[in-house]
């Protein structure tokens, strides 16, 4: 199991590196921009005040702390949409390829013909995915520390740690769903399309819930409601309910995925 675990990580090291380069580039850009943005704060505040407030609320964007701290600026510019998109693509491409991709390519037969149980194959793939996600989140989010020092910007590392924990929980839930579907389907395209579709629907639900009071409850069906980046990175807090929802979805889906993979027929 360890051999497969290590080999899977090794196989994904280049794609992880690419995702890291992209995310660190953005972090660098925003950290470097922040001092200039602070200088222009008054003018920009006036411009932002003219934006429709309902729209700002819908996208969970707050300019309250936008110019005051790096945390507020990163929340609005980076953690609101850009970082989740990069993270979701990473999680989806890994989980879809992990099992469904092996079945589609026929390489799963090479693994199944070896003296290693299906459960161990699933767990090796699952835990290498977790390591890749943790590595991505830790390195991309904590790249803010040397970059803030470099550009002489004040920052709170503990807030970025809290944001990383929330980001991991969010990724953990999506990864669980991805691995469950990857264990069930034999085509990675199908897995990516379904999980991607579900996330788009969730995003829309969260968006619509803020437009009308009668739609307010829809937000509870969306991961994007529980992914409260503002509270995490600005206030250094995560709601217990958010932790519970992400952990429950991630664990249940992973267990269901493992059972499906052990029980299913595999014909390449």
């Amino acid at each position: 199991m360890l051999t497969l675990f290590l080999k899977t990580i090794k196989n994904n090291r280049f794609s992880l590196l690419i995702y890291l380069v992209i995310s660190i580039s953005f972090v660098w850009m925003y950290v470097a921009l922040f001092p200039t943005m602070q200088e222009q704060a008054e003018k920009l505040k006036q411009a932002f005040e003219s934006y429709p407030q309902a729209l700002m609320k819908a996208f969970n964007i707050s300019f309250e702390n936008f110019f005051d701290t790096l945390q507020g600026f990163m929340a609005g510019e980076y953690f609101s949409l850009l970082w989740p998109i990069i993270m979701i693509i990473l999680v989806l491409s890994y989980s879809a390829s992990a099992i469904a991709g092996e079945i589609e390519a026929g390489t799963i037969e090479l693994l199944l013909a070896q003296p290693i149980s299906r459960l161990k194959i699933f767990l090796a793939k699952y835990f290498s995915g977790i390591v890749i996600i943790v590595a991505f989140i830790a390195i991309s989010n904590f790249s803010v520390v040397p970059l803030a020092v470099l550009h002489n910007v004040d920052y709170k590392p503990e807030n970025f740690l809290t944001m990383s924990i929330l980001g991991f929980l969010f990724a953990f839930a999506i990864f669980g769903i991805g691995m469950m579907l990857s264990a069930f389907f034999s085509s990675k395209g199908k897995v990516a399309a379904i999980v991607g579709g579900v996330l788009i629907i969730m995003y829309a639900l969260n968006l619509f819930s803020s437009f009308k009071e009668s739609l307010d409850k829809l937000k509870y069906a969306s991961f994007f409601y529980y992914y409260d980046f503002n509270k995490a990175v600005v206030n250094n807090q995560i709601e217990p309910l958010n932790i519970l929802v992400f952990l429950a979805v991630g664990i249940i889906c992973a267990v269901v995925g493992a059972v499906l993979f052990v029980k299913r027929d595999i014909a390449t």
Partner: protein, 290 residues
């Protein structure tokens, strides 16, 4: 102990009865051919043996172990090769070998086999020709000295030279005491290397016999040439069927004893010439599909 014992194996996919209640045994050290056209159920049976598919009913014992319950333990002694073997295209042959060495817990790989097969294991799998991919598959199947080799159409798409090369290797493995179970729809291949053959049709076994017994199945083709009228109706009787009628003669297929027909033919003064040929394995095989 039997190397393979399968009892009443059934595997259906919806309404399709891919494997429909087959039972057979394979002795240790034997080379068993598993013959049938596409869709006969060969690959499904092999996938059930390898625990890729779960049988609907039936029991598969391999090397004294349950192929489903003891799958992980059993695979330490199994070598598997598919005709459409897939590899990680970005890995070299050496990386595949090293990966499986670690999984199987082998200390050192027998480089002689790679040299014998003239395979450059430094090349990436994605760049290998189908013949070289099959060579790599064979190395991976044999590298841990398995007691039993399960091969699903191992020479599919290979040129005759490479096919013969693989037959020689398989014969060598069998001579060293390994049991080989190989599916094929290549009759000549089975005739060349197998001791016994199972013939499968629509998920059922229609014959399980030694190659020699099948070869001995008495099917003859008799060409009879006449002067004048050809007595077709009188000659085509029980056990004798007409293959074709041509100008001045007939081609007849005879199952079993040829004496009654030869006696009858001899009674015709118009009989000019006679030609008798022994049926090949292919013709015998086709009998099962008529």
């Amino acid at each position: 102990m039997k190397a393979i014992r399968i009892e009443n194996l059934k595997k259906y996919f919806g309404q399709t009865r891919a494997v429909d209640g087959i039972s057979f045994e394979v002795e240790e050290g034997e080379i068993m051919g598993f013959l049938g056209p596409n869709g006969a159920g060969k690959t499904t049976t092999i996938r059930c043996m390898m625990d890729f598919l779960h049988p609907d009913t039936g029991k598969i014992d391999i090397l004294g172990l349950d192929a489903q319950k003891d799958s992980e333990k059993l695979k330490r002694d199994l070598g598997f090769l598919s005709g459409e073997v897939a590899f990680y295209n970005s890995w070299t042959g050496a990386e595949h070998i090293s990966f499986l060495e670690k999984i199987k817990g082998i200390s050192s790989f027998d480089e002689e086999l790679a040299a014998k097969l003239k395979l450059d294991i430094r090349k990436k799998a994605g760049t290998l020709s189908s013949g070289n991919r099959q060579k790599l598959g064979l190395i991976l199947a044999l590298m841990h000295q398995p007691k039993l080799l399960i091969l699903d159409e191992p020479t599919l798409g290979l040129d005759p030279l490479l096919q013969n090369y693989i037959y020689e290797i398989l014969k060598g493995e069998a001579a060293s005491g390994k049991t080989i179970f190989m599916s094929s729809h290549n009759l000549a291949e089975v005739e060349k290397i197998c001791d016994r053959v199972i013939i499968l049709k629509e998920g059922k076994i229609v014959a399980l016999e030694s190659i020699n017994a099948i070869k001995r199945k008495r099917i003859y083709t008799i060409y009879a040439y006449f002067e004048g009228k050809v007595p077709k109706e009188e000659l085509v009787t029980d056990g004798v069927s007409l293959i074709e009628e041509f100008s001045g003669g007939l081609a007849l297929r005879v199952k079993g004893d040829t004496k009654p027909l030869l006696k009858k033919l001899a009674s015709y003064e118009s009989l000019k010439d006679l030609e008798i040929t022994h049926a090949g394995l292919e013709e015998v095989f086709m009998e099962f599909y008529r």
